[in-house]
């Protein structure tokens, strides 16, 4: 059963996701592979215990651990048998007793304005020896929350998975349903979704860079980066009615003619937003004192990224091509410019990828706005039964949704957020770095804990 999955791993395909779906009393495992621009789903029924894929790829580890914790399925030869979903009493995580090494519990509440997660950090003096994450403090049962919700309202649930990247989540959910419903989404709606996702990318990349500047004690640099981000949110508020562009996407298109209102808002403000963002980013990436802190921090090799199946700016910062926008003629017509790749694999490389992508996003926004496809923005979707996948290049990378619809009702929604694909690499990026690098590396990943915990 998992033999086919194994041979795909051996054949060099990227394992993008493993998830479980329970139909009646039967649990079905889905192994999802990325093969160029398409996703391949190898599904199989599972019972009792299943051979783990971790001996052949570390990318399987978090998926299998989560399925074990949530569905009670056992995986033989799983490389790490600690719980991932259940939150252990912290004392059980302190395993190392050595005079040179001390263990620090960092979280779940940390200083500043941060999402909750806990790290068990073993250090020898200043350097990291081992770091173990405890996730799912924020588990809100979002995948279950979708079940039975009216299709027209369900995108609002998707927007709760990660509020900061709500447009990507809503768009990915809608696309997954649209593949099942076989609806032709009007080009006008696709252009609008494209503008929303790219504006979201600009805002979130600025957020990551602003936090890095703050970590580097560049108070003016970070204030100006957050000011540029603020302009994006104001533009969105004027163009969509919401500062994060929520409440816009729906199955079959958009809820109102948002492209028209976005065009109006962009006519007035886009130039200033872009000027501010471009100039602040340019200044940041040429500030030597910041680069000094980022260069060499949290280094990931090309091979590590490939083996763990990381996505988005984390992958591209290590020279690994992975952009769901490439070869996607759904949203991004016309897609211009090359995929942004850096090769150093450190926090600096990831920051440079984000800086360059901000510029590319503005280009994509202008393309979609000036294309201004005429006509309707919402097509009627006839409810049909079946399963569907969709992916969207969210700010942190490839986001995948799975939906199963029966009798016109949502029976199962599963989500593979980009942060989930990237987080397991955070741990191997740390050893050898010093304590004060932690936040630089964390903010260069820019993972969203809420979408990981779901």
């Amino acid at each position: 059963m998992s033999a086919q999955a194994r041979s795909r791993v051996a054949g060099g395909e990227r394992l993008a996701w493993i998830f479980a779906d329970r139909i009646g009393r039967q649990t079905r495992l889905h192994y999802v592979f990325a093969n160029g621009a398409s996703l391949v789903d190898v599904g199989s029924d599972a019972a009792g215990s299943v051979q783990s894929l971790t001996p052949v790829t570390p990318a399987a580890e978090w998926y299998e651990r989560e399925i074990r914790d949530r569905f009670g399925l056992e995986f033989e030869n799983l490389s790490d048998d600690r719980p991932l979903v259940r939150v252990e009493p912290p004392d059980e995580l302190r395993k190392r007793e050595s005079p040179e090494i001390s263990t620090v519990l960092y979280g779940p509440i940390r200083s500043g304005i941060v999402e909750s997660a806990r790290w068990t950090i073993d250090t020898a003096g200043e350097t990291f020896v081992e770091v173990a994450p405890s996730m799912f403090f924020k588990h809100r049962g979002l995948e279950e929350r979708f079940v039975g919700v009216e299709l027209e309202l369900a995108p609002f649930v998707a927007e709760h998975v990660s509020g900061a990247t709500a447009s990507s989540h809503a768009a990915a959910f809608c696309r997954a349903v649209e593949t099942v419903a076989d609806v032709h989404v009007p080009e006008r709606a696709r252009a609008a979704r494209s503008v929303l996702v790219e504006l979201e990318r600009v805002a979130q990349h600025l957020d990551s860079l602003g936090k890095l500047a703050d970590d580097g004690s560049l108070s003016v640099g970070s204030a100006q980066t957050f000011a540029a981000k603020e302009r994006v949110h104001r533009l969105l508020a004027a163009g969509t009615g919401h500062r994060f562009g929520r409440g816009v996407c729906c199955v079959g298109g958009t809820r109102f003619d948002v492209l028209a209102s976005l065009r109006e808002a962009c006519d007035r403000e886009l130039e200033e937003v872009e000027r501010h963002a471009r100039s602040v980013v340019q200044t940041l990436v040429s500030t030597q004192s910041l680069l000094d802190r980022l260069i060499g921090a949290g280094k990931l090799t090309y091979e590590q990224v490939v083996r763990f199946g990381a996505v988005g700016p984390v992958a591209r910062g290590s020279g690994v091509s992975c952009d769901a926008r490439t070869g996607d003629d759904y949203f991004y017509t016309p897609l211009t410019g090359e995929e942004v790749l850096e090769s150093n694999g450190d926090a600096a490389a990831r920051a440079l990828v984000r800086a360059a992508e901000i510029q590319r996003s503005f280009q994509l926004i202008r393309n979609a706005l000036s294309a201004n496809p005429p006509g309707d923005w919402l097509a009627k979707a006839a409810p049909r039964d079946g399963c569907g996948f969709a992916r969207v290049e969210a700010p942190q990378g490839e986001l995948i949704y799975f939906v199963r619809i029966e009798g016109g009702r949502l029976m199962r929604v599963a989500i593979r957020p980009p942060s989930y694909a990237n987080w397991p690499l955070f741990v191997p990026s740390l050893p050898g770095n010093i304590f004060t690098d932690f936040s630089f590396i964390e903010h260069s990943f820019a993972a969203s804990q809420s979408e990981v915990d779901r």
Partner: protein, 246 residues
């Protein structure tokens, strides 16, 4: 290029709110207004609400603002019964607003000129944190109002809690509250924190912040905008009266 020169060229961006009025974009969906309409029209809109914020009743529907996550769907489906307004002063207090206001003023008198916030994420969607961070950006500059952020519970005056409280976060949240000195204020930031929002019936979560801690001020919104947050903090400090009551 020097950063000082950079920001001088950018000029002064900051609002003077709440000392002077400010406003959100006309299209901003801040608050639901319920209009006089027949019960069918009310029920049509109420049926669109994933967080049960609306109840059809009498001449116009009842709106629980703490439950509204600003999707606008009620107004889209039933424009006769509901409208969205770009209102942003959404904070509510538990009890009579005037009495609570003087009580709050009494409590913050001892704090001196500046107040320090401590933030705890009890299960947010991640955007509440970004909007809370935004009140310190040059457009809002909460420091000008004497509002600061602190990392140490011992220096904290106001506990700002984001998100619905998950099972795993209840204990850490209580401990964080415990560690703060008296007098302390608790602010629930965001619709999920205020009421549980769309998670009300979810078994994975415990419930709104007020199920775990005594909440002084509720700041609804998904997420609340920075102006909404400034207003809510102003209410918490007893400088402004809350609009509604809950």
């Amino acid at each position: 290029m020097s950063w000082i020169g950079y920001s001088l060229r950018r000029g002064i961006l900051s609002t003077r709110y709440p000392l002077r009025a400010d406003s959100m974009a006309p299209a901003y969906r801040g608050a639901v207004e319920s209009l006089p309409a027949n019960v069918e029209a009310q029920a049509l809109g109420a049926g669109a609400c994933l967080s049960s914020a609306l109840t059809a009743a009498g001449a116009r529907a009842r709106v629980d603002r703490k439950r509204c996550f600003q999707c606008g769907e009620c107004a889209r489906r039933s424009p006769e019964a509901f409208g969205m307004r770009n209102e942003f002063e959404l904070a509510e207090v538990a009890g009579n607003p005037d009495e609570v206001r003087s009580l709050l003023r009494e409590r913050v008198r001892g704090l001196g000129r500046s107040v320090h916030l401590r933030h705890v994420d009890a299960g947010s969607d991640g955007s509440e944190e970004q909007e809370l961070q935004a009140i310190f950006n040059p457009f809002y500059d909460a420091n000008r109002l004497g509002i600061f952020l602190t990392a140490t519970p011992r220096h904290a005056d106001v506990l700002v809690v984001t998100g619905v409280v998950t099972r795993a976060m209840a204990q850490p949240l209580l401990a964080a509250h415990e560690a703060m000195p008296q007098p302390k204020l608790v602010v629930a930031l965001g619709t999920s924190a205020c009421s549980g929002g769309i998670f009300s019936r979810s078994i994975a979560v415990l419930g709104p912040v007020s199920d775990v801690l005594p909440v002084d001020v509720f700041i609804p919104g998904t997420p609340p905008s920075p102006l909404t947050i400034l207003h809510g903090l102003w209410v918490a400090l007893g400088y402004a009266a809350a609009r509604g009551r809950s």
